[in-house]
């Protein structure tokens, strides 16, 4: 585990520099800067409307967001000009807050298509069906996902908790280098929260970065962050260790909201 490692000598994997983003002429991110070192789990906390989900979408390349200025440097390359799938193939993964339903497309079919698309991009051959099935079974077991759920169409009729678990399952199988978790804890009961957190902890890796977006401390009880960033009004207003999250839990965001204004 990297959480105890000293900061010195660790290389930045993801650098966001002075990022300003508007949606329909409304500035949502306003000169945001943030660095994440390889191996880091960074929590991003902040009140509603502070721009957390926008940050997640902009890193992943969702259309509809106008980048006014700034850069997102991943492994030394500005990824802002890349298509969303090109970013995904470089290892950017977003666990959605509200995963989309795709009727008629089996969850397994989707998993296989995604996995093989990424393998091909790396010049690897497609997985054989038995190999694929084995990997899915193992990963699903760890997340207590029933096989029956995987036979359903993608996210259709999934409960809130099932959707979130399926996001983490995809992340486990795709093994990204940047994992962005957008309020993955919302809608989870306490048992599901622990299962999901364990799933994420198992993916901690010296060559991987996590951005964990959350409102609440409770997820961070299970996923201990290396860094906590506080976001308000479209920028990072405070950065600290795990104790910062605890302080937020106690005092709320009011101080920071005022500070940003």
């Amino acid at each position: 585990m990297t959480s105890g490692a000293p900061d010195s000598g660790r290389r930045p994997m993801l650098e966001i520099r002075n990022l300003s983003v508007s949606v329909q002429d409304k500035m949502i991110l306003d000169g945001l800067s943030l660095n994440a070192n390889a191996g880091d789990v960074a929590a991003i906390m902040g009140p509603n409307g502070s721009g957390k989900s926008t940050l997640a979408y902009v890193i992943a390349g969702k259309p509809g967001y106008e980048v006014v200025s700034g850069e997102i440097i991943f492994d030394g390359e500005n990824i802002l000009d890349l298509e969303p799938n090109e970013r995904a193939l470089k290892g950017v993964f977003l666990a959605f807050q509200y995963p989309t339903e795709i009727p008629g497309v089996g969850a397994m079919t989707f998993l296989k298509a995604a996995l093989n698309a990424q393998r091909r991009a790396r010049g690897e051959s497609d997985l054989t069906t038995p190999d694929f099935m084995r990997r899915v079974r193992e990963a699903a077991q760890a997340l207590k996902i029933e096989q029956e759920m995987l036979r359903r169409p993608l996210n259709v009729g999934f409960s809130g908790g099932e959707k979130k678990r399926f996001e983490v399952l995809q992340m486990a199988l795709l093994a990204p280098r940047v994992g962005i978790l957008d309020e993955t804890d919302s809608g989870l009961d306490i048992d599901a929260l622990r299962i999901v957190a364990e799933g994420i902890n198992a993916l901690r890796d010296p060559d991987r970065v996590f951005l964990v977006i959350t409102h609440y401390q409770r997820l961070l009880d299970h996923i201990r962050p290396d860094v906590v960033h506080v976001m308000a009004k479209g920028r990072i207003v405070a950065t600290g260790g795990p104790e910062l999250a605890l302080a937020l839990e106690r005092d709320g965001y009011r101080d920071y909201a005022e500070e940003a204004a």
Binding site: K62, G104, K112, A113
Partner: protein, 489 residues
């Protein structure tokens, strides 16, 4: 299912620009002179050595046709068709009724090989896992080879070219020809009745379950040759048959006319399942060329408890005008229509079905999935009617349309008539777009825009794909993906 993935893989290996089946086979053909008059009709009939009654039948249709006008109600438009500028008959010169596959022009066999038709009997027999499929291949106008005849004959099933049926089973032909689609039915069907060249004939005797899927591949090869097939399928009491029809045509600059007629007759307790995968040349990116597909397909559930099921996957043709229908005459008979119609580029599709409930307790089910992309127009037009004596008639209709992009259109035009108060007719329709959210979700996982579209569309049409026989389903999935190429980005 891995099939979606397979679809994507196959597409990778295909040149996007080139219509895959756009090759022309250099085979000499024996043509009737261009144009249409009584002489043309007589020429065709005499070429085929038809009996007098059939010539008269054709001539009557021709005279009737002269008094008719093209139907104008469909949501399609095209420049006027010069019916005198078409060859009405073209038979491959080198293929006079071959006795076996050895006698068939090797060029023909190569053409079929390119199309992937398992025509060579030995190959089919050798393919252990492959379910048996008997193929009656229609090359332009003449059926050149029929496989598995012997095995079918053992079961008493007649599966042959239409011309052969006229020669060898004239009573059956005379009894049923035109009994579902009368020669006066509509402009194109009447034209077909006058000049039809060949097609397939199937008769399944009472109580027989046809031991294999029957399959026909149509292919328009000759330049300026209208293709006018005539298919007649009769399932006698208590019998069952599944029939597959696949259509391709080479790439041409000019438009080619295709006006087929298919008649199905199901007697008491009989069942006919008719599946079509149509991928005729749709024209180029500017909308030039492509097939005009004006087809009349109708099934008659003549006996009690009979069943006719149409499944179609339409991806090709510049214009599709096609309404496979069921006349539900027999008590408790059932009609089904499952359709996937995909349009891209400048294609125009006006397709749907008619379920005519005449008998008591008749039921029907319609599931239609239209996908429009590019600048195409895709219309579902369906009629469900319950007549006065159709007590207890029930219909369920579900019509879904999916739009890809900003310039295409999807239209749903249902006609519903109930003359019997006990009839229950349900109609559900939805129109949706491939949402930005769905696309982004797929892209975020590493799929390309085309892979994502194929995946989403295949999901959208899945209910209908499942109705197709396994082998056809894979082909259909591949075609759906090919036909949507260039629709995104």
């Amino acid at each position: 299912m891995a099939a979606d993935q397979e679809t994507v893989e196959r597409v990778r290996s295909i040149d996007v620009e080139a219509y895959k089946y756009g090759f022309v086979s250099p085979i000499e053909s024996d043509k009737a002179p261009k144009g249409l008059n009584e002489e043309t009709v007589r020429f065709i009939s005499s070429k085929k050595e038809e009996p007098e009654w059939l010539l008269e039948w054709r001539l009557e249709a021709f005279r009737r046709w002269l008094t008719m006008d093209e139907p104008k109600w469909a949501r399609v438009s095209h420049p006027p068709i010069d019916y005198q500028d078409i060859y009405y008959f073209a038979a491959p010169k080198s293929a006079p009724a071959p006795k076996s596959l050895d006698e068939v022009d090797p060029e023909l066999l190569r053409t079929y090989a390119k199309l992937g038709i398992p025509l060579v009997e030995q190959e089919i027999l050798a393919g252990v896992e492959r379910p048996k499929v008997a193929v009656d291949a229609v090359f332009d106008s003449v059926s050149v080879a029929t496989t598995f005849k012997a095995e079918l004959a053992k079961a008493g099933v007649i599966f042959c070219s239409f011309s052969e049926a006229v020669r060898n089973h004239p009573d059956l032909v005379r009894r049923y020809l035109g009994s579902v689609v009368p020669p006066t039915d509509n402009f194109y069907a009447t034209l077909n009745s006058a000049v039809f060249s060949d097609g397939s004939f199937v008769y399944v005797p009472p109580g027989v379950r046809c031991p294999m899927e029957l399959s026909t591949y149509f292919r328009i090869n000759e330049r300026n040759t209208g293709q006018f097939e005539r298919t007649l399928i009769i399932a006698d009491k208590g019998s069952y048959v599944s029939y597959l029809e696949g259509c391709t045509a080479p790439k041409r600059d000019e438009n080619q006319l295709h006006a087929a007629v298919v008649e199905l007759i199901a007697l008491d307790d009989a069942e006919i399942k008719y599946s079509t995968v149509q991928n005729w040349y749709p024209g180029d990116a500017q909308g030039r060329g492509g097939i005009y597909n004006f087809v009349t397909k109708r099934g008659d559930c003549r006996g009690p408890r009979s069943k006719i099921s149409w499944t179609q996957v339409e991806t090709g043709s510049a214009i599709t005008w096609k309404y496979p229908s069921c006349i539900l005459r027999g008590e408790a008979s059932r009609g089904e229509f499952y359709s996937i119609a995909i349009s891209n580029g400048h294609q125009q599709v006006d397709s749907g079905t008619k379920m005519i409930h005449l008998g008591r307790n008749t039921t029907s089910r319609i599931i239609s999935k239209g996908v429009a992309a590019g600048k195409s127009q895709n219309t579902y037009r369906g009629q469900v009617s319950a007549h006065r004596l159709a007590t207890g008639a029930r219909n369920f209709t579900n019509c879904d349309s999916l739009l890809i992009g900003q310039e295409c259109g999807a239209h749903t035009v249902p006609y519903i008539e109930a003359k019997n108060a006990s009839a229950v007719i349900e109609h559900e329709a939805t129109t949706s777009k491939v949402s930005e959210e769905q696309m982004f979700y797929c892209l975020q996982r590493g799929l390309s825009a085309e892979e994502a579209t194929a995946l989403i569309v295949n999901g959208f049409v899945r209910d209908v794909l499942q109705q197709l026989p396994m082998e056809f389903a894979v082909e259909a999935q591949k075609l759906i993906t090919i036909s949507l190429e260039g629709s995104v980005g």
